[in-house]
C-alpha cells in the first residue's frame, strides 16, 4: 500500500504541470490608459441650398461639444480618406479605421423658411456597424445651436452610456466694476457661453441664483430692500416676486426641492442663522435646524430624502447631512480646513464643495459618507461648484487676487481633468447649471 501511495504521489507530482493547466489563464489588469476617443464629423450634408451654412455650423458645434468634454478628440477633416458627403451613402469602414477614427458622426440638414430638420447617424468604426438608430430633430433655424447640442448629446450618451449635458443652460451673476463697487445682475446663457441674456438690471446686489429642476424659474438672494431677501424669477417672462419666508430678519441661500414645490433657505434671526423650508404652494413654513451656529447653503439629494449643508457648529465650517424633514445631522467632512457650499451630484453618489485650507481655495468632491475626498482645483479663490445634468462636470467661480481681481467661470471634469474657462464677456460668478432641456 505504501508503495502504491508513493507511486501515486510520484505520478501526481510528475503530472503536476498537467494538473495546473486545467483552468484558463487568469490575469488581472488594473492599469489602463485614459485617452480621448478619436471621432470624425464630416460636414453635414445640406439637403437644400439654404441649409449649407447652418449644416456646416452644426457640424462644427457637434465637434466642439464633444472635444470640449476632454473625452473625445476630433480627427480633422484634412485626414479623411473617404469623404462622407451624402447622408445615405455607405460607410467605408476601413477608410475610417485607417485614420484611427473610432466613432463617425454623419448628418443632414434641411431648411425651409425658419424651420429646420436635422438628421444624424452614429457609426462604431471599430465594430463596423451603426451604433443606435438614426435620429431626426426638428426646430427653428434660430435654434440651431440647440439642435447641434442635441446631436452631440445623442452621440455622447450612446458612446459613454451616460446622458449628455450639452443642451442645457446656466444661470449666473454677471459682474462689472471694481471690487468696491461691483455691479451685479442675473444672467442666463447656454452651457458653452452662447446666447447670453440678462434677467435683472444692476440696480442692487443679487447673489447665488439657482435654477428650478425644470429650468423654468430661478431663485436668488436680492438686496433690493437693503436686507437680503429671496426672490423667484420666471425665466421666460423675466417677471419676479419676493417669496414669503418664515419670520426673520434676513433670508438668503435659497434652493428648490426636486419637485420644484418647496424652497429651502437660510433665515437669520437674532444673530443666528438656520435652515428653513417653505412650501410654495401652501405657504407653510418649517424650521429644519436649531443650532446657535450658522447653517447655510443647503442642497437636496436627487431622491429628495436628504439635505447636505454647511454649519460651523463645530467651530469651523463643515459639511453635514440630515434627513429632509430635519433631525439630527451627521458630519461628513473631516479633513484639514473648512468646507462649504455643498452640492449633491445628480447621480447621487458625490457631494461637491468648496474647501479652504492653508490660504488656498479648492473645489473638491467626496462621497456622501465623507470618504474618498478629492480636490480638483486650487487657487487664490475658487468657490461655488455646480453640477452638470449628468454629474460628470463641475462649473465654479474663480476670482483673482488683488485690487484688480475679477471673477470668471471655469469647468472641470470630476476626474480633475480638462479644467477650462467658460467663454463669457466680463466678470461672472455664482453659476447654477440647469437641467437638460427637453
Amino acid at each position: 500500500m505504501l508503495k502504491r501511495l508513493t507511486i501515486l504521489m510520484m505520478a501526481l507530482v510528475l503530472s503536476g504541470p498537467a494538473l495546473a493547466q486545467s483552468g484558463p489563464l487568469r490575469l488581472v489588469i488594473t492599469d489602463g490608459v485614459i485617452e480621448p476617443l478619436p471621432f470624425a464629423v464630416p460636414t453635414f450634408e445640406a439637403e437644400n441650398g439654404e441649409a449649407v451654412q447652418v449644416a456646416s455650423d452644426i457640424s462644427r458645434l457637434v465637434a466642439q461639444d464633444l472635444s470640449g468634454t476632454g473625452l473625445f478628440r476630433e480627427v480633422p477633416a484634412s485626414a479623411f480618406i473617404s469623404q462622407h458627403s451624402s447622408f445615405a451613402q455607405t460607410v467605408v469602414y476601413p477608410d475610417w479605421r485607417a485614420i484611427n477614427a473610432q466613432a463617425l458622426i454623419t448628418g443632414a440638414v434641411f431648411v425651409s423658411g425658419n424651420q429646420m430638420t436635422v438628421k444624424f447617424r452614429l457609426y462604431d468604426v471599430f465594430s463596423g456597424a451603426e451604433l443606435g438608430g438614426g435620429l431626426q430633430f426638428a426646430g427653428t433655424v434660430d435654434g440651431w445651436r440647440r439642435m447641434g447640442h442635441k446631436v452631440a448629446d445623442a452621440a455622447y450618451s450612446r458612446i459613454t452610456g451616460e446622458s449628455g449635458y450639452f443642451d442645457s443652460r446656466v444661470v449666473f451673476v454677471a459682474e462689472a466694476g471694481p471690487k468696491d463697487n461691483r455691479q451685479k445682475r442675473l444672467a442666463v446663457m447656454d452651457y458653452d457661453g452662447a446666447n447670453l441674456k440678462y434677467l435683472t438690471d444692476s440696480g442692487s446686489i443679487v447673489l447665488a441664483p439657482r435654477f428650478s429642476p425644470s429650468g423654468d424659474r430661478v431663485l436668488y438672494t436680492s438686496f433690493e430692500s437693503g436686507f437680503p431677501r429671496i426672490n423667484v424669477l420666471d425665466v421666460a417672462s423675466v417677471g419676479r416676486q419676493q417669496i414669503t419666508t418664515a419670520d426673520g430678519e434676513m433670508a438668503f441661500s435659497p434652493r428648490f426641492s426636486n419637485d420644484g414645490r418647496q424652497v429651502i433657505y437660510s433665515l437669520a434671526n437674532g444673530g443666528n442663522t438656520d435652515i428653513y423650508r417653505t412650501d410654495l404652494v401652501t405657504g407653510a413654513n418649517s424650521r429644519l435646524t436649531e443650532a446657535p451656529s450658522i447653517e447655510t447653503a443647503p442642497s437636496f439629494s436627487p431622491d429628495g430624502s436628504q439635505i447636505v449643508f454647511e454649519s460651523d457648529r463645530s467651530g469651523s465650517q463643515q459639511l453635514y447631512i440630515m434627513s429632509a424633514s430635519g433631525g439630527e445631522p451627521r458630519r461628513i467632512s473631516f479633513g484639514e480646513g473648512r468646507y462649504g457650499t455643498p452640492v449633491w451630484s445628480p447621480r447621487g453618489d458625490l457631494v461637491a464643495f468648496t474647501k479652504q485650507n492653508a490660504g488656498r481655495f479648492h473645489i473638491g468632491v467626496m462621497r456622501t459618507d465623507g470618504s474618498e475626498e478629492r480636490l480638483l482645483t486650487a487657487s487664490f479663490l475658487d468657490e461655488g461648484p455646480t453640477w452638470s445634468p449628468n454629474g460628470r462636470v463641475l462649473m465654479f467661480m474663480r476670482e483673482t487676487q488683488g485690487a484688480g481681481g475679477t471673477s470668471s467661470l471655469y469647468s472641470v471634469d470630476i476626474s480633475g481633468r480638462n479644467l477650462k474657462p467658460v467663454p463669457i464677456q466680463g466678470g461672472a460668478s455664482d453659476p447654477s447649471w440647469g437641467p437638460l432641456q427637453p
Binding site: 498537467a18 490608459v33 459613454t160
Partner: protein
Amino acid sequence: MDRAGKHVQSTGAKVSAIGHAVLIGWLILGWGLDSEPLDFEITPVSVVSGEEYAQMVAATTPQPDTAQPEAPPAPVEDARPPAPVEDAAPVETPPPAPAEPPAEETPPPAAPTPPEAPAEVSDSAPVEPVPPSPVETAAPELTVSPRPQPRPAQRIAPEAVAPPPPDAAIADTVQEAVVPDETVAAEVAEPAIEATAPEETATEIAIADEEPSGAPTRSPRPAARPNRPTPAAEPAPQTPATTTTASSDNAATDTAATDAAVEAALADALAATSSPNVAAGPPMSGSEKEGFRVAVNACWNVDPGSQAARVTMTVGFKLLPDGRVDGDVRQVSATGGDAGATEIAFQAARRAILRCQSGGYKLPADKYDQWKEVEITFDPSGMRLR
C-alpha cells in the same frame, strides 16, 4: 566539504563530492549557460519614419553600421541627412551656438555619449516633422536629458512616454524594446518584439491648476530587436489532449482511494508524462504573463469619471495558437455597476482585447495549453482616483 572530508573513505561520498564540485564549478563558470546578446538596431531617437520601422521590423539582422556604435547620439534632427554620418566621426565639429536654444536637449545625456554630442542633437529644435534619416547609430541611452514634471498629456497610461516622433507609427501595440537604464522597472523583459513609438502619455492626471512644465519623465526607446524566432513560427504545438485527460482523471482520483482508481491513475499519469508534453510546458513565467497584460492594457481605455469606472469586469476568450482571438470575447462576471455601466465596461474590455491583438498576441507556443483559454479581470478602481 568537511563532511565529505570525514567520510572520504566511502565511495559514495567521493562520487557525491565530485559531483557537487563539478556542478558548482559549472554554474560558476557558466559554460554553455551564456546566451548571446540579441542583436539590436540603433536608431536616432525622435526621427524615424513609418518606412523605417517597417524596415526594422522586417530586418532580423543588425543593420550595417554607418557609423560607430558608440557614437554620440547622432544628430537626431536631420535637416541635413548626410551630416550625421560625417558628424558622427568627428565628434568635435558641432557648432556650439545651436546647442543653446533647445534647453531640454543640451544637458548631456548619460555616460556613454561624449560631451559634444548634445550639440549635434540640438541642431534643430526639438520634435519636428523632418524627413527620415538613414538608419543612423545612436546610443540607446540617448535622450536622458532631465525631464521636469510630467506635463498633462492627452493620454494617461501607467508609464510616462515622451511625444512620439511625428512620423512614427503610433501602433496599438505598445510594445517597447527593452533598453537598459531609465526604463520603467515593470517593463517587459522577455517577449520584446518590434518596438513601435508609443503615443505620448503621462503617468497621472495633472491636477487642474498645477503648472504643467516640461516633458514626461521618460523618452521612447525606439531601438528594436528583430523578431527572435518566436514560438509562433514553430509548427503548432502537439495536441495536449492526453494531458488534459490525465489531469482530470488525476483530480478525480484525489478523492477516490480504491486501488483500481489508483492503478488507472498511475497508468494515465505515466502515459501523460511519457508524452512529449510540448503543449503544456513549464508554467508560464511572470514576464510572459506581464507581456500579455501590457499588450492588453495599452488598448484598455478607461474613462475615470464614468459610471463604468466603478465596474470590475471579467471576460473570457479563447486564443488560437498564433495568438489571435478565436471567436468573440464573452462576459464572465461583473460587479459594481448597473446594467448600463456594466455594458460599457464590457465593451471597453472587449475592445481592449480585440484591438490589441493585431496579428496575434505574442505568447510562447510551447505553453499554448496554458493560454489557449484566458480570463482577464479588468479592475479600474485604482485608475479612478489617479
